[in-house]
Amino acid sequence: MSESNPIREAIQQAIDEHDVILFMKGTPEQPACGFSARTVGALQAVGHPFAAVDVLPDPRIRQELSAISEWPTIPQLFVRGELVGGCDIVSEMYESGELAQTLGVEPPEDAPAVEPEAAPRPMGIENRLG
């Protein structure tokens, strides 16, 4: 850990201040990468407002974000200060209804129904993040 790292501190502050915050390439209006676009789509479909940070303007944003989250890729979704995951995890959670549950909203009506899988898996994200 370096002693003074304004970019890392600003990122941590943004994560702390926003219940739902997405670090992405581009903006929700103009995503610059298919994975970011898909993640924005899932969040918009669930209908919960979210803050978004574009990591592209300065490569240090991505570098410091990954140092905080220990997650190598973009996008990264944080809910209540915890990393939820990237595009794959957010998409899976959207399809299973867990994303709406994590965000505390009713799943949209056109979302696929939650289908219990043969293998049991934990449902509460809070229980799963150490």
Binding site: F35, R62, S66, E70, W71, P72, T73, L83, V84, G85, G86, C87, D88, I89, E92, A119, P122, I125, R128, L129, G130
Partner: protein, 75 residues
Amino acid sequence: MPTAEELKRRIEAGIPGAEAEVEDLNGTGDHFRATVTAPAFAGKSRLEQHRLVYDVFGEEVGGPIHALSIKTRTQ
């Protein structure tokens, strides 16, 4: 340039008992999709499971491996 076959071998060598299927999504050696089945995932959150796969490649993910889409299963 990494190949799908190389990624598969490294995942299977890096995670005990893992079986991986890896696709090179664009045929360009930089965007891959891996489906990984491993008993080592049992009891772990999806986030932790994906981290185990990312950890096999360290800083190559985001570098030479631009994108690695992951799907994990315990069995």
